[in-house]
Symmetry: C2
Subunit: 377 residues, 2 copies
């Protein structure tokens, strides 16, 4: 088939990236990249790792989608890739079909890009023992680069997911009161998210009192009490796209220190968002955040302060001190400073999603950014 | 630390399995095996593949848990493994800590078992380039064998998850009526599951009308109509343990063929469950099911007719023609015949969870097994 028919995929950009990396083909194996490159959402691939689905897209414009036979009808209905190949689970290996395809296209000894952070040891051994002269490099730089620049349709999907999630959280905080348990709050948020049309709730980390100091605690049967810090980090999927929002609220009669830490964190968060402009380095944005923590007297520990988001939860770019890349327009970033404060024995976390534009940040969460500390009474 | 303190882990059985496979250590890297061996549920490990958590358990009774620094507080609170080692994400690789540990224990050139169906190509290359003489074999046979026999506590967790899920599905079928959409039914089921205390809804595949012939369709905005087949396969997690139940119901005025296919499938399902006894081969159980389809005049296509369940969705043993192992007591099995019937243009799927006991199958879904076709009026 001609590659021009490959649905939403930005083929020109993909070809340019293949050229740049000097590879003849890109092999996607992770659920998010198979979805991105094929247009089909094979959910069992997320649940059953060994039931591999994969796409191969070559520089000369050929593409195939290899799936377990049980997914053939779905793939045929949804994907724009017409060269669909299927294997019988437990009997055949998807890697045999990949090997066959590469040979067919004269790529048995070529330099190709494969998702090395997803392909498993077993499948990798199969591939290299069938094609020992194949030159495998990481496909991640190509695929992350391809996915980092969101098209307007993706931005709107992400804005919808982010706004809905933020609103759900704020609604539940309005309804909450001391005595309600972490589990009740968690359950309310999840149900509202489903009511608002999420495909799925993906995660909720919720910790109250001293448990808020744990980065990723799960809901327990612990009631909110006056004087607690309540930290929630919550996300779902909407038509394949993630949301990921964090809020921290105070319960009953907060201490002065709690109010200070939370409002200072919110200030820092807003300042960092305003600094997220095309042309500056990710490492500079990270350092800006770190410096603000020092300046305002909050303890800082984070190895990164944010990440991109899309079909995956943590996409590149990552806002870390090690990332000297330049922020581009149409990148979206979750900016999420966290403060673990010994003095108030609390953990504080605020996370919002921002689209980088020439005219400044477009806040996709559309929210108050935790501007005025929410207090559950 | 002495291995005798390793929480719930059946250390004697693990040691026996290591002995049998001739390995000096087992390295777990998948979320389910890290949870099983360490007792800590690191949810970001499921969401962020590269943020690896791993355990090493040696034959001589040493154990370590290696996690990303951000998860240290959680791991320290939850795990029984006291030798906890942490790495800084993006800066250090978890594999360096693994290499260091293996060297420390004199296992740098030993034969060790690693989860080769989870460890990625990149991490695998790092490991083998640091320790080129390390002899890596698959840990999966050991870990699946270890997890296949459920202890009474696990059985009760799985029974609870299965019963709740079945009840939720049946409640929603009672409330449903023609005109309701797939999405509404899906959303109702998910919310009820959350209300019943699920940690998470994991998947729902739902197809009505001709879409029921697709094995894994996702909910769409399609209303139920009289004459439809509605097929639902649904599962969540409860305290880390999966549920996985499928039901097929008819809508309005079913055709004679639809009623025949569904009630015949339900008959076959019950007969297969009754045949699932300790001492027979999995392949025989599969063939029994296949023969019953032929005998009763239903089309058969399945590469397997069931699987075990636990911390993972598809656990071994799998009921496939290739599995000549003998069914053991205290194994639990999801038995799930599917019929895709061209004549009635419908897909039919019934799935229940069964504990194998000497006294016959103990049906953990506790349900009517789709005995009388449910008709949505």
């Amino acid at each position: 088939m001609g590659i021009q028919t490959l649905g939403n995929l930005n083929v020109k950009r993909l070809n340019h990236l293949m050229e740049k990396e000097g590879v003849e083909a890109v092999v996607s194996v992770s659920p998010e990249n198979v979805l991105y490159t094929s247009g089909t959402n094979i959910i069992t691939q997320q649940l059953l790792r060994e039931r591999l689905a994969l796409t191969v897209i070559t520089k000369s414009g050929d593409a195939t989608l290899i799936v377990c036979g049980i997914e053939e009808s779905l793939a045929r209905e949804e994907s724009w890739i017409s060269d669909l190949r299927t294997y019988v689970e437990f009997k055949e290996s998807p890697i045999d079909l990949l090997v066959e395809y590469l040979k067919e296209k004269g790529l048995g000894t070529a330099k190709i890009a494969v998702e090395v952070d997803y392909l498993t040891h077993r499948y990798s051994q199969e591939l290299t023992s069938s094609l020992p002269s194949l030159d495998i490099v990481a496909a991640e730089p190509i695929l992350f680069d391809l996915r980092a620049i969101k098209n307007p349709e993706e931005v709107e999907k992400l804005r919808h997911a982010a706004t809905v999630t933020t609103n759900v959280m704020e609604e539940v905080f309005q309804e909450a009161s001391p005595g309600m348990t972490e589990q009740q709050i968690s359950s309310l948020m999840i149900k509202k998210l489903i009511d608002q049309g999420a495909d799925k709730h993906e995660f909720i980390v919720i910790g109250t009192g001293e448990r808020s100091q744990i980065i990723h605690p799960l809901a327990e049967d612990i009631p909110l009490q006056s004087g607690d810090v309540l930290k929630v980090d919550f996300g779902g999927k909407f038509k394949g796209y993630f949301s990921d929002v964090a809020r921290t609220v105070l319960v009953g009669e907060p201490t002065a220190r709690q109010e200070f830490v939370l409002s200072t964190l919110a200030e820092i968060h807003r300042e960092v968002i305003q600094s997220a402009k095309p042309g500056i380095r990710y490492s500079d944005l990270y350092n800006k955040c770190k410096d603000l923590f020092a300046e305002k007297g909050l303890p800082f520990f984070m190895p990164h302060i944010g990440h991109s988001l899309g079909l995956g939860l943590h996409e590149e770019p990552i806002i870390s001190p090690l990332n000297d890349d330049i922020i581009q327009e149409n990148v979206i970033l979750n900016i999420e400073p966290i403060c673990i404060d010994d003095e108030s024995k609390g953990g504080y976390h605020i996370e919002d999603l921002v689209l980088i534009t020439e005219n400044g940040p477009d806040i996709l969460t559309g929210s108050s950014l935790n501007e005025h500390p929410i207090i559950i009474k």
